[in-house]
Symmetry: C2
Subunit: 456 residues, 2 copies
């Protein structure tokens, strides 16, 4: 499989060949490409052309891999065009269990059941059903059941023979798992160790493997913990065992990389007020739909804020200059709130925040906020006094700026920690949500202090 750059020139060459019905050229070209490249090509050409090209794939396994690599919306259309029987036989049966489960979970309940009933390989059907039962964002959802395992009592000769059989369907083998007669995981053996071992072919696996060099998780382990374990120990593969230690499957780094990227994008989107996975070349409608909900929340917040200010209309008529600093107060509250919650959200994602010490963290955040608040409000006070803003307004702005910064810092820390404690995604606290709330509270504080300062 050659890997090539799918650029505009390449795509036009293919489109030309489709137009000229140059099937020989297309068939030869396509069937020699890497599935990821074929998928990229199909993503780019018109849907009819894509379906046409897909039917030229000669190898079922290649076609299944291509299906897996397609963009979600393109795959959806492809799957709709196939019968349940075709999906089972052409796609599902040619994929690893974890990828098969991923594709099945994209189908409707009804179609999923139909496809499952058409899977002929009973063991695969069982594995897939098991995998689909694991909760989202758990080790179980990331793992595949295909792996290479040897019994600790086997000789090297027998182990190699069995490995050859088991490894046939695997793209590559990174680790060989060593189990006892009850299939309990005892340890692992790298191919390097087995290959370079100077032990005789008649020695047993028990003399070769390293029982201590083993890390495993259970299927209900949080996906984020899986990421942090694999990152910490630089693992390429991680074993999954049940509560009694029986080997269930293994998680490979490529799936973890995909998970990491999705998580990072989700957090980033939340912080930016985008509610679903979008790419800048998505349709106008999809882009709008992903953004409008947050804007409506912001709009509602803005209306609420207008009601808060309305309560102080009288004060505003007395000194319209009070209005000058409304955006400053609102913006600073928002900025501090986003900073604080972003630090907590990242800390929770990296497991560096100790959730038991919420109180301690709030104290520290308050320290940071006090420092930042002091610096900002003193600078602003100096500026205002120098530019002959009235003392009443100058003090009102600086005192409330200080209060707003401290308040936003504490709320920005407290809210994501609280959401997390109640098992809600803490990233919800970032973005438009926290900005709007800080606008509201900030302007309350501002006008309240103004009232005190002007002696109303």
């Amino acid at each position: 499989m050659s890997k090539i750059q799918i650029d505009k020139a390449y795509i036009s060459k293919i489109e030309e060949a489709i137009e000229n019905m140059d099937l020989d050229f297309l068939r030869t070209t396509l069937n020699n490409l890497h599935p990821a490249d074929i998928a990229e090509l199909l993503d780019e050409v018109a849907m009819d052309d894509a379906k046409h090209l897909y039917h030229l794939l000669e190898d079922n396994e290649l076609a299944a891999e291509v299906m897996l690599e397609l963009e979600d919306d393109v795959r959806e259309k492809f799957l709709k065009a196939l019968s349940s029987k075709e999906i089972a036989e052409q796609v599902i049966e040619n994929l690893d269990s974890d990828d098969a489960a991923d594709i099945l979970s994209e189908l409707s309940e009804e179609k999923m059941a139909e496809v499952m009933s058409h899977i002929e390989d009973a063991e695969l059907a069982y594995d897939i059903a098991q995998l689909m039962a694991y909760g989202e964002d758990t080790a179980g959802a990331l793992m595949a059941t295909e792996l290479v395992q040897v019994n600790v009592a086997w000789t090297v000769t027998r182990a190699v023979r069995e490995m050859r059989k088991q490894g046939e369907e695997l793209d590559d083998i990174y680790t060989v798992y060593v189990v006892d007669d009850e299939e309990k995981l005892l340890g692992s053996l790298s191919l390097k160790r087995l290959f370079f071992s100077t032990a005789s072919m008649r020695s047993t696996i028990s003399e070769l493997y390293d029982a201590k060099d083993l890390t495993s998780v259970t299927p209900d382990t949080d996906a984020e913990e899986v990421v942090s374990i694999m990152k910490k120990y630089d693992l390429v593969v991680l074993a999954v065992v049940d509560d009694s230690g029986h080997l269930l499957g293994r998680i490979t780094i490529d799936d973890v990389v995909d998970y990491m990227q999705e998580e990072a994008e989700r957090d980033y989107n939340m912080a930016s007020g985008i509610s679903e996975k979008v790419e800048s070349d998505d349709s106008l409608w999809r882009l709008t739909r992903a953004r409008l909900p947050w804007l409506l929340i912001g709009l509602m917040g803005g209306v609420l804020v207008s009601q808060v200010i309305a309560m102080y209309e009288e004060q505003l008529s007395l000194d319209p200059k009070l209005a000058f600093f409304i955006p400053l107060i609102a913006a600073m509250g928002g900025n501090v709130g986003v900073q604080s919650s972003a630090i907590v959200v990242q800390g929770l994602a990296n497991n560096t925040v100790d959730v038991r010490n919420i109180f301690q963290r709030l104290i520290k955040e308050m320290g940071v906020a006090l420092l930042n608040g002091l610096v900002c409000s003193l600078i602003l006070l100096a500026f205002n006094l120098i530019t002959h803003t009235s003392p009443a307004l100058s003090y009102t702005v600086s005192i409330s700026l200080f209060c707003v910064i401290v308040n936003a810092g504490v709320l920005g820390t407290f809210i994501p920690l609280t959401l997390n404690r109640f098992k809600v995604d803490p990233a919800l606290a970032t973005g438009p949500f926290i900005t709007t709330m800080n606008d509201l509270l900030g302007l309350f504080i501002y006008f309240y202090i103004g009232q005190l300062m002007y002696g109303l």
Copy 2:
């Protein structure tokens, strides 16, 4: 090396043993831990205890690995306590070339040169110097020179013998590179393939390896492209060659995972107004320093905005109600701006944005903004008219909201694309920067339209 959970109980047990000078226990425990766990332990205990524990490590290679895994600030202190000769002999010479280069680049120019002069392994010194010359965020900066390569003309017997020699210093081998007599890369061979091959030991490598199954990059390839290639083809390792195809080194997935995470954090921090890498358990001072610069930018923006509003003081005295909607206009401009720039920044990071089509992208963004703007301003108009806000104010708010949303959408797309074109990190455009600019422009628009509406 056992892997364990470094929790509070474990840390206290170690601290107790330090207090009781239970050296035997400490030595046995430490030297049996995984370096990543030892580093985590040293990060957690007091600095004096950490240095004490570090000296109990018996194996130089283990000690070097621990040094590598320490947190940046802890490692800085450790390195300061060691002489240049000690760093060279104990740390650098026991690490892979890429890790050695990373640690060296953390030293001052002067100390770096000293350490380099103490490296006895001339080949390693040469490799490190080469690696350090590659630009940041390139394939060269991510690669290591340690790898296993075999000549295409060798017999399997000879290849295995040579691989054993070369592989001794490597933790694990994923791929064996096949080169010609001039060390030009021809292809690769997985250990699985070699291991399971039924070819005789006297057949040559040329009969076994796959020339087509090869992807490589040059050292000046952008790190983001490295990430996207490894993700696309699910690679665990990627070869680096020079312009004439000579094999220089290889990039492993663990380094790419670290790079991805750092990049995602940097973008997220930019969007949240945090200027350097911080963790929530960093010192008060460090946390403040990372956040204050952005707050000062926000403060300056706020002062500028106050000057804009001041220009319209007369209008505000005529209808103080105009002030009610200042935060709404400012917030909506900010929200739309952040959304638009976030989509562009992510698209650039994932290579899904075609930078040649800036104009096309702006047209599309304008479409999204027109839709969102229309929905939001009509809803607001309805609300205001129903709640008996004066028609002049109602129309002022809705018309300017519409203009602000369109304007913010276009700017939010245009600015990161322009920054990127001038090789500035487009993520700079997100966060407080874009919010502040949209506040300014938004309120200009608001009061200008107000002036027209009120017929001033």
